[in-house]
Amino acid sequence: MKLVLRNITKRFGSLVANDSISLEVSPGEVHCLLGENGAGKSTLMNVLYGLYQADEGEIVLDDQVQHFTGPGDAMAAGIGMVHQHFMLIPVFTVAENVMLGNESTGVAGTLDVAAARERVNEISERFGFHVDPDALVEELPVGVQQRVEIIKALSRDAQVLVFDEPTAVLTPQETDELMQIMRQLKEAGKAIVFITHKLREVREVADKITVIRLGKVVGEAKPTATNAELASLMVGRPVELVVHKDEPQLGDDALVVQDLRVRDALGRVHLDGITFTIRAGEVLCVAGVQGNGQTELTEAILGLQEHVEGSVTLDGKQLVGRSVRQVLDAGVGFVPEDRQEDGLVGGFSIAENLMLNRSFRSPFVRRGSLRRDALEEFAEQKLKEYDVRAPDIHTHADKLSGGNQQKVVVARELSRDLRLLVAAQPTRGVDVGSIEFIHKQVIATRDRGIPVLVVSTELDEVVALADRIMVLYRGQVIGIVPGDTPRETLGLMMTGERPKDMIA
């Protein structure tokens, strides 16, 4: 089935998310939609899938103009979508998820579970998926959950398959497997739309590449294009993909973590006795697939976790058992992984957000009242220094783009007298320009002799920043290796395989 999008325009209020975008995808072809976060890729696909209605333009399938009023229509027309956030119901079984909305029934609407199970088995056999139809979805690894999404689409005879940022949650190995699946689907004659911002993946599977920037198609490219060419198309100017850094000037052991154990309220162990050290002037990157204890590690250091055993010392001072404020006063800067949830107060101005970690005493508070003049002067200066693109310092944080929000957080955390910087997912959902800037700041912090702990699920980022890399898997340290360790080794470690030389 051939899919053609003609001049799709979608507006949200005054924002034009898609500006007259046209696209053609043929059967047996992988068409990559490349663009930064916020470029309008997902909006376009939600229009295609009937979740949004386009303001202008049309969707054509095999020369038939389609009018989708909801996802049901799109599915009936043969479009299947593998969503970035899986559209699966965690407490249902695989078979139940696959049949939902498309149930075969017996007498009086009773579910024909056997038929659904059969369907799952048949499809997973055809593509070698190994999915148990009776497994509960919440108990499956993300990679397998994604296959359930694919089975769901295929069970409805989808001819056009849309993959929306499918690799964001996968290990490198799972990513490779997904690429293989995409090739198989292509050979089976499906038309595939692959949405991503990761250049390497694009070049690996794409037959055609369309680049989108700020809601517009800005160009097309061949899979033979270099990373630099693709990146500059995506960003609109030449970008440095490599972070320039000198050899680290290592000082004494600064952050010493020993036998750290973290459990949650239900008694589940999230960190199982991990030990590592960061020296002054060194960047240690924590790699691993999301949910292997990274969040708990950063939160335990900061004092945000309840059930912590073991020891964390910074310059010889114990941090475990301290309140968050005591930890901050000890000189810990913290960039949380979810800036909208934990990093900023959306309804506060930039200036107010910049003083969140210093809401006591000077320089911004005197005898319990705010010193607006000092705050504003400080904010103006940081706005310039950190290149935050905003109308003024009174702009509310939730009006900023992801990259600018993150710069505000980074500015706040770096403008104190730091002894340690903990940065969790510092560039998630941030545009390439801001990534460059934030990476430079991290390295500059290191070069001031401050130990830095970076947590990232993006291998590119880990490799770009790290002096040493620690891989976490199921709450345990799989190994600590040098920053120049090959990606393949890191990928294997992320699946729990221990390298021969354990500690660097």
Binding site: F12, Y49, L51, Y52, G70, P71, G72, D73, M75, A76, M81, H83, F86, M87, L88, I89, P90, V91, F92, T93, E96, M99, L100, G101, N102, E103, T105, A108, G109, T110, L111, H130, D132, D134, A135, L136, E139, L140, P141, V142, G143, V144, K152, T171, Q173, E174, R263, L266, G267, R268, V269, H270, V289, Q290, G291, N292, G293, R474, G475, T495
Partner: protein, 430 residues
């Protein structure tokens, strides 16, 4: 539930599933211990003389079971010893990191209750059949209400308005039943009334995204106000014509009703109770075994996912809560068409809130919620029976009993329960 009997999922590429240490609650063991100790204290501090008689047969039984007479103190002490043994078993299992199974819980509950009754009714005779049959009668509105609650919450709408649905159902049943002279038409009217309250709830909660808890509470107050006003202005001025509904007659079921003990408790009831059995079975079956149920649960767990497979989320929610309202309304009809053939202001006495507790105690499952509602019904009736027997416990304490059990049940015994993920969250499309 659908999770039982599954083989553990094969996990080919092991993902971020972190080892879990089984968390075994010691709550059960502690509660057992406290209750047993309490019993011992009661027996030591307030010993009773005489014998206790348990009447196991109703006067009309086909096969009459003999009466059971035990010396009060000896009987109570024996049962306390049984409780102590069960407590020890629970402790042993806790130490071995295993949870206390259902049968131990049930055995403890029966032993403790029997021990308490043996002591409390010393020198008297306990009408066991009457106690249990009365429990069912008191539990009927609670079960209907709880089913309405389970359905609504499974679809993602918190139904605090159960009490309003019961009350409005009772009112409509009384009025329409009196006018038409038919209890069946009255029952139908109660269902419509319950659905009407649900419709208002849906309008605010689903269409206008108003906080569901607030709307529910406000609706309850609204229905109290409305029915009280209509009662005093309309019904009370013309009681013979407007507020003397016909009652559902008691219809014994031929063979089943003759089974000793079980027959008179379950099968010599009114049509509305038989209807309840059917509704419980239907709801449980439909929720887990039909397309409709799968979609309802999907909408309550992850509405966006349901939407992406072409399920109309809000339409499903509306339909489900209308049905839930109708079921709760039937419970309301029980008040005026069976219990008391007359509507009175605020006659539900907050039963809707107890039903809501049964929903949570029952972990959002129709069968368990029904059992929970039966337990609350039993507690209420026990208080009545003990008051008649003249038990040594002050009546004020006995009046507290159902509510104390509610709190204990909801707070402690059930362990962690997980509500539907999207319970109470309105679904908005961008």
């Amino acid at each position: 539930m659908s999770t039982t009997g599954l083989s553990p999922a094969p996990v080919p590429t092991a993902g971020p599933v972190i080892d879990t240490v089984p968390v075994v609650s010691r709550k059960v063991a502690i509660i057992f211990g406290v209750l047993t100790l309490g019993m011992v204290l009661i027996l030591l501090l307030a010993p009773q003389d005489g014998e206790t008689t348990f009447r196991l047969a109703a006067s009309t039984d086909f096969v009459a079971l003999p009466e059971l007479t035990v010396p009060s103190m000896a009987g109570a002490w024996t049962l306390t010893a049984v409780c102590a043994l069960l407590t020890a078993e629970s402790v042993r299992r806790y130490v071995a990191r295993r949870s206390t199974p259902m049968w131990v819980l049930a055995a403890f509950a029966v032993a403790w209750m029997a021990g308490f009754l043996t002591w409390a009714a010393a020198g008297e005779s306990v009408p066991v059949v009457g106690l249990l049959a009365g429990s069912i009668a008191l539990a009927v509105p609670l079960v209907f209400g709880a089913l309405g609650g389970v359905l609504g919450e499974r679809a993602g709408v918190v139904n605090i308005a159960i009490d309003g649905q019961l009350l409005f159902g009772a009112f409509a049943a009384a009025l329409v039943g009196s006018l038409t002279g038919s209890p069946w038409v009255g029952l139908l009217a109660a269902m419509v009334a319950g659905a009407l309250v649900a419709l208002v709830l849906g309008l605010f909660a689903i269409t206008y995204f108003v906080d569901q808890v607030i709307v529910g509470v406000v609706l309850n107050v609204l229905v109290i106000g409305l029915t009280s006003f209509l009662f005093s202005q309309v019904l009370a001025t013309n009681t013979p014509a407007l507020n003397t509904p016909p009652r559902f007659p008691r219809v014994p079921i031929p063979v089943l009703g003759d089974i000793p003990l079980i027959g008179p408790v379950f099968f010599r009831q009114t049509a509305i109770v038989y209807l309840l059995y059917i509704v419980v079975a239907l709801v449980a079956f439909a929720l887990y075994r039909t397309r409709w149920g799968l979609r309802v649960r999907a909408v309550g767990e992850h509405p966006l996912a349901a939407d992406t497979v072409g399920i109309k989320v809000n339409r499903t929610r509306y339909r489900t809560i209308l049905l839930a309202g109708a079921i709760a309304g039937m419970g309301g009809a029980f008040y005026t068409l069976v219990s008391v053939p007359q509507f009175n202001r605020e006659m539900t006495g907050g039963a809707g809130y107890i039903a809501l507790a049964a929903v949570i105690f029952g972990k959002w499952d129709p069968i368990r919620a029904t059992l929970a509602a039966l337990l609350f019904g039993f507690a209420t009736n026990l208080q009545g029976v003990l008051a008649v027997l003249g038990s040594p416990v002050p009546s004020q304490f006995m009046l507290m009993l159902p509510y104390v059990i509610t709190i204990f049940a909801v707070a402690g015994l059930v362990g962690r329960s997980r509500p539907p993920a999207a319970d109470g969250v309105p679904y908005r499309k961008e």
